[in-house]
């Protein structure tokens, strides 16, 4: 490799290379590393005991619990959908497939605020189903069900779009063999397909979960901001911040930043286990359109 480098002239001289690397790292440092760093510095600015008391505050705990609950409902819903959609799209040929893939990506093109608005228009006091819900004393908007629905909407494509290319790459020979040997559909799925796609599945769940726990705009619109009741962690950060409790806001924010770091680490691990996962969704999109 070193020999080849001396013989063939490199398009870019060494100084040019160093300048490019310096520019890229400065940009990443200013725009990504500094914001991450400032979260932890601000969180600890009033000392460790203030940090500990901000995190152990009962309303902060209620927010943590609600965030976990919402993700624990939203992610499995989108997981089942993702597996079903990937099975239909990857294992079968049908007309309108690329239109279906585009529709699955639709929530990515919708502002989170509009995602929240949608559920207000449906289930709010003046919404389509507002009267029916009130008659049955069911609260959706400004309550947990609305938060869950908005989160499901926003995270809808995450698992499907990672699983579709993974399943397409697996092909269907293994499954066809299993079925021709007498396995039922469920047996084939559990024993053949699932082991094949398990890393891709975890990848999608990881990304979906990160967005579900961190979603702000959509949840903010439908939550009603009732402290201790409909207050997720990101919303709690906002409330504390607007009350000028900066250190406390950053303390709760630091938990979310840790979640982000864990997500990145998990992503790195899964990409190391299965390198094809990297860029799989984007590569597939290019192929789909060609």
């Amino acid at each position: 490799m070193a020999a080849a480098e001396t013989r063939i002239p490199r398009p870019l001289p060494k100084t040019g290379r160093l300048v490019l690397i310096a520019v890229a790292l400065t940009f990443l440092g200013l725009f990504l590393v500094l914001p991450l760093l400032v979260v932890f510095v601000q969180a600890l600015s009033k000392g460790v005991s203030a940090y500990a008391s901000a995190i152990s505050d009962p309303t902060a705990w209620a927010a943590v619990k609600l965030t976990l609950l919402v993700a624990a409902i939203a992610v499995p819903f989108n997981l089942v959908f993702g597996v079903a959609a990937a099975w239909a799209i990857a294992k079968f040929e049908f007309r309108g497939k690329s239109a279906l893939i585009t529709l699955i990506d639709l929530p990515f093109a919708v502002s989170p605020v509009i995602a929240g608005l949608v559920f207000i228009l449906l289930f709010g006091a003046h919404g389509w189903f507002g009267g029916t819900l009130r008659a049955h004393h069911i609260r959706v908007v400004f309550a947990v069900p609305g938060i869950v629905l908005a989160t499901i909407f926003v995270t809808f494509p995450f698992i499907a779009r990672e699983l579709i290319p993974v399943m397409q790459a697996q092909g269907k020979d293994d499954e066809e063999t299993a079925v021709s040997l007498g396995a039922t559909g469920w047996q084939t799925f559990w024993r053949v397909t699932l082991p094949n796609i398990r890393w891709g599945l975890m990848y999608g769940v990881l990304l979906c979960n990160a967005r579900a726990m961190g979603e702000f705009g959509a949840v903010s619109v439908v939550s009603g901001h009732i402290r201790g009741l409909t207050d997720t962690m990101p919303l709690h950060v906002e409330i504390l911040y607007n009350e000028y409790s900066y250190a406390a806001a950053f303390a709760v924010a630091s938990l979310l930043a840790l979640l982000a770091l864990l997500t990145l680490a998990g992503k790195g691990f899964l990409e190391w286990r299965q390198p094809e996962l990297r860029h799989a969704a984007r590569r597939a999109r290019w192929r789909e359109n060609s």
């Binding site: 991450l36 049908f94 502002s111 207000i120 979310l256």
Partner: protein, 281 residues
């Protein structure tokens, strides 16, 4: 609408097609299609005159112009620096490269509200960067410039992650051949690399732009949120909702949705065109 298969071989060995496609369609309709159509139906109830009146109100047009303008600038910044970052990550080796590559996804993983307060703390007049820039008379936080900063943060991974796979597939030997034939670095870039990259660049640019237009959480903390000056369109939707002005909120949402869908369809059509013209990559 339900797609039916071309029964070319009339032989479908695997079971579950009807079940999984049916479930997919029902779930997609219940969660996404029907709820979204509610926005359009509600706006129909406004009547064209009222709709137009709401949408052309000065405060609304100012917010739309700001949202789309700031997103455009941020996407341009990302197109340039995203290309440099992607290039460096694919082509060069340097210390902590794996870490630099991993951190690119931070805007995907970090909740937007956290990004918002972190950027505000950084760029506020007493913040690490804000105090530095203040000496030059530049104020970022609580001005439209702050919005651009937040939207740049949000959009960066779209450009880098769209360009990386294309760069990895790009043949190094063509560049080396160009260099051997006496092309300068700039010529090689303009004549050899850019023509191969620009479809992916434009896609990354459009994705980052589309995400920025709808962004809310990271912007509202740093923006200052002054009507007519630093109030983005999604924030105006929220404000109108808080005043129980559902008609107004819906009308702005429809304008934003139509524009976003047009961008998304444009991206798909463009990719299709670019790839059929330049051959599958």
């Amino acid at each position: 609408m339900t797609p039916e298969t071309r029964r070319s071989g009339a032989r479908r060995v695997l079971p579950g097609f009807g079940l999984t496609l049916g479930y997919t369609m029902v779930y997609l309709s219940l969660i996404v299609l029907i709820p979204l159509s509610a926005v359009f139906f509600r706006s129909l109830g406004l009547g064209w005159g009222h709709f137009w009146e709401v949408v052309t109100a000065p405060r609304v047009t100012a917010s739309l112009r700001l949202s789309f303008g700031a997103s455009l600038i941020a996407a341009l910044i990302n197109a340039v620096f995203g290309l440099i970052v992607a290039w460096v990550l694919v082509r060069h080796t340097f210390p902590f490269k794996r870490l630099a590559d991993a951190i690119v996804d931070l805007p995907f993983a970090l909740p937007t509200a956290v990004a918002g307060i972190a950027l505000t703390a950084l760029y506020a007049p007493n913040g690490w960067l804000g105090s530095l820039l203040g000496r030059w008379g530049i104020q970022v936080a609580f001005t439209p410039l702050g919005i651009v900063v937040a939207l740049t943060f949000i959009g960066l991974p779209f450009v880098v992650r769209t360009l990386q796979p294309v760069l990895e597939d790009l043949d190094k030997e063509v560049e080396q051949a160009a260099a051997t034939l006496g092309a300068s670095a700039a010529q090689t870039f303009a004549r050899v690399i850019l023509p191969a990259l620009w479809p992916a660049m434009l896609t990354g640019f459009a994705l980052s732009f589309a995400r920025a237009v709808g962004e809310y959480g990271s912007v509202i903390f740093i923006a200052g949120n002054m009507p007519m000056k630093s109030e983005i369109a999604p924030l105006l939707i929220v404000t109108k909702l808080e005043q129980y002005d559902f008609a107004g909120a819906t009308a702005i949402a429809v304008v934003m949705l139509v524009l976003s869908f047009a961008i998304m369809l444009g991206i798909n059509a463009f990719q299709h065109w670019a790839l059929t013209r330049h051959g599958g990559r």
